[in-house]
């Protein structure tokens, strides 16, 4: 069983986002970078699938990002991933979701793949588009927002379970190869153990460029982006809470109801 995990490095969820001058995007100086939490579920699930399969199979990480992404790649290797492909080329920068999926697809086509695990979305842009487009590019099925996976190795198929509206669960059976988008609740990712971290030192991280994948500059990056970012803005500052003063509970309740109806317009 060949398992591929696509991983994105994102700013720590505790980061206070600041914008660059002009319209240059997000200020990345001083940002702490982590594995996208949904991708972490994907990494963990890949490791568990292999463990349940008696340790048979290979888990390969594919990550697109600049040099700094190596730290997150090493973390995944320390968790137990076997090897990694680091898609690292300035030409990749500025790619939109379509571009990212195209680059990932090219890389994945060069390696054996039965199960492709992704996070269902990245917590930075929350686009939730790459796994689906990736599946289209590879011309294979996909299941998103997956909570549970049961792999039938002999028959090369996976049974997935996911939550759908109304609190119901939807169970799907998918032939392999296929792309899966991991949701929260799928598992609890392990920490990289200290022996794991030491072992990861000798694992292979292969740097791959656009040229290696036979991609031309005009096919990727900003040049090929179908989505153009018009502007960045921070969310409005949170307003201070409103306090309704007054000793008489009936009067306070009346004021609150009035405010909810006329100002907040929620009732």
């Amino acid at each position: 069983m060949n398992i591929v995990v696509c991983m994105k490095q994102v700013p720590d969820t505790e980061t206070k986002i600041r914008l660059k001058e002009g319209n240059g995007g997000i200020q990345t100086d001083g940002v702490k970078w982590i594995i996208n939490p949904y991708c972490e579920f994907a990494v963990e699930e890949a490791l568990r699938i292999r463990e349940r399969n008696g340790g048979q199979g290979t888990v390969t990480l594919v990550c697109m990002g600049p040099d700094r992404a190596v730290e997150s790649i090493r973390t995944a290797l320390a968790m137990g991933v076997d090897k990694a492909i680091h898609l690292n080329d300035p030409l990749f920068e500025g790619s939109d979701n379509f571009g990212v999926a195209k680059i990932l697809a090219r890389a994945i086509q060069t390696i054996p793949h039965d199960i492709i695990l992704c996070g269902k979305q990245a917590v930075d842009d929350d686009a939730s588009q790459v796994p689906q487009i990736l599946a289209e590019q590879l011309n294979i099925p996909h299941v998103m927002v997956v909570e549970k996976m049961e792999v039938d190795v002999a028959n090369k198929k996976v049974t997935t379970s996911r939550r759908i509206e109304g609190g119901a669960k939807e169970v799907l059976e998918v032939p392999l190869p296929a792309v899966f988008g991991a949701d929260k609740g799928m598992n609890e990712p392990r920490y990289a153990s200290l022996p794991g971290i030491m072992k990861a030192k000798s694992k292979e991280v292969k740097k791959v460029t656009a040229a290696d994948l036979g991609l031309k500059p005009e096919e990727i990056g900003v040049a090929a982006a179908k989505v153009k970012i018009q502007a960045y803005s921070l969310p409005p500052e949170r307003q201070a809470g409103k306090k309704i003063e007054g000793g008489d509970p009936a009067q306070v309740a009346h004021e609150l109801a009035k405010w909810l109806r006329e100002e907040a317009r929620v009732i």
């Binding site: 505790e14 090493r74 920490y191 990289a192 153990s193």
Partner: protein, 388 residues
């Protein structure tokens, strides 16, 4: 996690990728597993023993050692492990220090192959717990005067005496006990349950409340001859273990100080007094924050350099004494200042500051008091030994 980070001089750029990943692991473990229950354990005076196996699985135990299932991480990685664990609580860090740098290190360094094979793999996994018995009721700073003695018998040795202030003492499966055999200090392995060996936990502490501290009592305690750590020879043997231990204590103090500083800074920015202005706008508070930041940063630099020397095999015991003395003293000062900035809130368990402050009263004292560390430095400077 934010409260565990402080890097004014970009010293993180000296870390390797592995060291960064390791620190993330420990910070994650502390945030998710230690912090949610540590206050309760501290208030109740209990050690969170349920964490031991998990720390073993993560490779925290004996991480500084080679082979026998140990992770064999760099000295800097071991320092960071200690730092982040103590950002949780000194009791947790101390458990790991004693298990790794004292008990396992002693067996690794002074034990024979059979002893290592028997004890180190289960100790690395957290299946077996170790403690280290050197200090006695009447001999703390002066261990060479110890009264515990071993007598040779036909089958092995009989131990008589008592040890005190022993971290992990009453939960340990094996005690590394130092005793005089024909007047020479030697190390012995005493297993839990050996007839004549009793432990008594020391309760009523105001510091290190989430840590097990015990007395060890030996009353005609007979152990087989295989339990002698045969390579031990005199006081220098246990002192070499303490040298390892002090290194972890010194790094740990940085973790406690960092948390105290960050909590005080956040508090000062949100607490308002006089015309709705944060107390951080007051000059006397800014002076305190500036001094705390400077002192922690200086201690980080000292620690980093001593650790580099240790990595190159050039660190001397005097370097480690300076680092242990400086860092614990600095951390205690930072913790007290942070407690002061927090005002009345500083004494409550809602904030970790007073817990760290009380813990640091122990770390300036154990594994060689700071006065003794200064005398070690004094001897280095003058060539005259002032403790005898």
């Amino acid at each position: 996690m934010k409260q565990m980070d402080l890097d004014f001089l970009d010293l993180n750029s000296f870390l390797t990728n592995e060291e960064r990943v390791l620190r993330d692991t420990v910070q994650g473990f502390v945030t998710q597993k230690v912090l949610p229950t540590i206050e309760e354990h501290y208030q109740n005076g209990t050690f969170p023993a349920h964490l031991i196996r998990e720390m073993g699985e993560l490779g925290f135990l004996g991480a500084n050692l080679k082979g026998y299932g140990c992770a064999d991480v760099s000295p800097l990685a071991y320092g960071l492990l200690s730092q982040e664990l103590e950002a949780g609580d000194a009791g947790i860090r101390s458990f790991v220090s004693v298990q790794s740098s004292l008990a396992m290190y002693a067996i690794h360094t002074f034990g024979n192959e059979e002893q290592r094979q028997q004890w180190l793999p289960p100790m690395a996994k957290g299946e077996k717990i170790g403690c280290f018995g050197l200090t006695e009721p009447d001999f703390g700073s002066n261990p060479s005067g110890m009264r515990t003695r071993a007598e040779k018998t036909g089958r092995g040795y009989v131990l008589h005496g008592a040890k005190m202030w022993i971290t992990n003492g009453s939960i340990a499966d094996v005690a590394v006990v130092w005793a005089k055999l024909d007047g020479v200090i030697r190390g012995f392995l005493v297993e839990k349950g050996t007839p004549g060996f009793k432990t008594q936990e020391m309760k009523q502490k105001h510091s290190f409340r989430a840590s097990n501290t015990s007395e060890l009592l030996f009353d005609r305690c007979e152990i087989p001859k295989e339990n002698l750590l045969s390579k031990t020879d005199g006081l220098l043997s246990p002192l070499s273990c303490l040298n390892q231990g002090r290194f972890g204590v010194a790094w740990g103090a940085l973790g406690a100080a960092t948390v105290c500083y960050n909590v005080a800074k956040d508090y000062a920015l949100s607490r308002k007094q006089f015309n709705d202005r944060p107390i951080a706008s007051h000059q006397l508070v800014q002076e305190k924050l500036a001094e705390m930041l400077t002192e922690i940063t200086k201690a980080q630099l000292l620690s980093l350099r001593v650790t580099q020397l240790k990595t190159e095999g050039k660190a001397q015991h005097v370097h480690i004494s300076m680092m242990k003395m400086n860092n614990t003293q600095m951390a205690l000062h930072v913790a007290r200042t942070a407690r002061f900035i927090l005002g009345g809130s500083g004494i409550m368990s809602e904030y970790p500051v007073m817990r760290h402050m009380c813990n640091l009263e122990t770390t300036v004292t154990y594994e060689g008091t700071n006065d003794i560390q200064k005398l070690i430095l004094g001897k280095e400077i003058t060539g005259i030994q002032a403790f005898y």
